[in-house]
């Protein structure tokens, strides 16, 4: 089976692409594919704690991300620089998320046969 890396680049509520990416990641995991997720750029904002998007008629993406271990999806990573740029600390993230520097992200990409970018 070919390992697939899904990269989440979009802020959570600007459009629907962030949600589409997370749904795809959960589908890969549900179909028992070796699946990894990397949050990068404004996409790290999907990991922000205490999201309350109900006033704009949206559902919390953080809640969806918190469910990833239920799909045996725990190879989940976040870009260290992007976290710093967006004011997020490691303690804000779900416990199963690993923070990676740029060199570790290149290594992560090289370990995967497919890279899908959302």
């Amino acid at each position: 089976m070919k390992p697939t890396l899904l990269v989440m680049n979009r802020a959570p509520y600007a459009g629907t692409l962030a949600r589409a990416g997370l749904d795809a990641a959960l589908a890969y995991a549900a179909f028992d594919q070796p699946t990894s997720v990397l949050f990068a750029g404004p996409g790290v904002l999907q990991l922000a704690p205490a999201q309350e998007p109900a006033p704009i008629g949206r559902k919390s993406l953080r809640r969806l991300i918190d469910s990833m271990p239920l799909y045996d999806l725990e190879a989940v990573y976040a870009d260290a620089d992007a976290l710093a740029r967006h004011g997020l600390a490691a303690g804000d993230l779900p416990a199963f998320v690993t923070v990676l520097d740029a060199a570790a992200q290149r290594e992560l990409q090289e370990r995967h046969a497919h890279l899908l970018s959302f």
């Binding site: 089976m1 070919k2 697939t4 990269v7 680049n9 979009r10 459009g15 629907t16 692409l17 589409a20 990416g21 749904d23 795809a24 589908a27 890969y28 179909f31 594919q33 990068a40 750029g41 404004p42 996409g43 870009d79 992007a82 046969a113 497919h114 890279l115 899908l116 970018s117 959302f118």
Partner: protein
């Protein structure tokens, strides 16, 4: 080489669709396999039969339909994204009690499992229209 494509850009991003269709034609002409293109999120709007682009602009929908006709490429629009964008086949139009089916000829609706299946069979997967980091 065996390719799979994921298209996320709306049809208004004509340059993205032009590049994606061009890549498919080049790959197929060179003898590579590219059996399925999967459209998700705003990309599903390209399968909307009722959209009318200006007459002097290229129609990404017609470009994809021509690719499917000439090369037998399967065009699958993610069903969850498609219904959100008003792209309904006759089953979905009946299910949601909408006045008409709007899925363009040459496209089918399908679940994310068809994307997983396409990339699992492929050596390379290309995403068109995703967010840049």
């Amino acid at each position: 080489m065996h390719y799979a494509l994921l298209v996320l850009a709306p049809p208004q991003a004509t340059a993205v669709h032009r590049a994606a269709i061009g890549l498919c034609e080049a790959a197929l002409d060179a003898g590579h396999a590219l059996p399925r293109v999967f459209f998700s999120d705003a990309g599903t709007q390209v399968a909307l039969a009722s959209a009318v682009p200006p007459g002097d602009e290229p129609s990404p929908r017609e470009g994809w339909q021509a690719l499917a006709r000439q090369h037998g490429v399967e065009l699958v629009a993610c069903i969850g994204s498609a219904v959100r964008h008003g792209v309904l086949d006759s089953d979905e139009a009946a299910r949601f009690e909408r006045p008409a089916a709007t899925l363009a000829e040459g496209f089918v609706l399908g679940g994310l499992g068809l994307l997983v299946e396409a990339t699992a069979a492929a050596d390379r997967t290309l995403t068109f229209g995703g967010g840049a980091p």
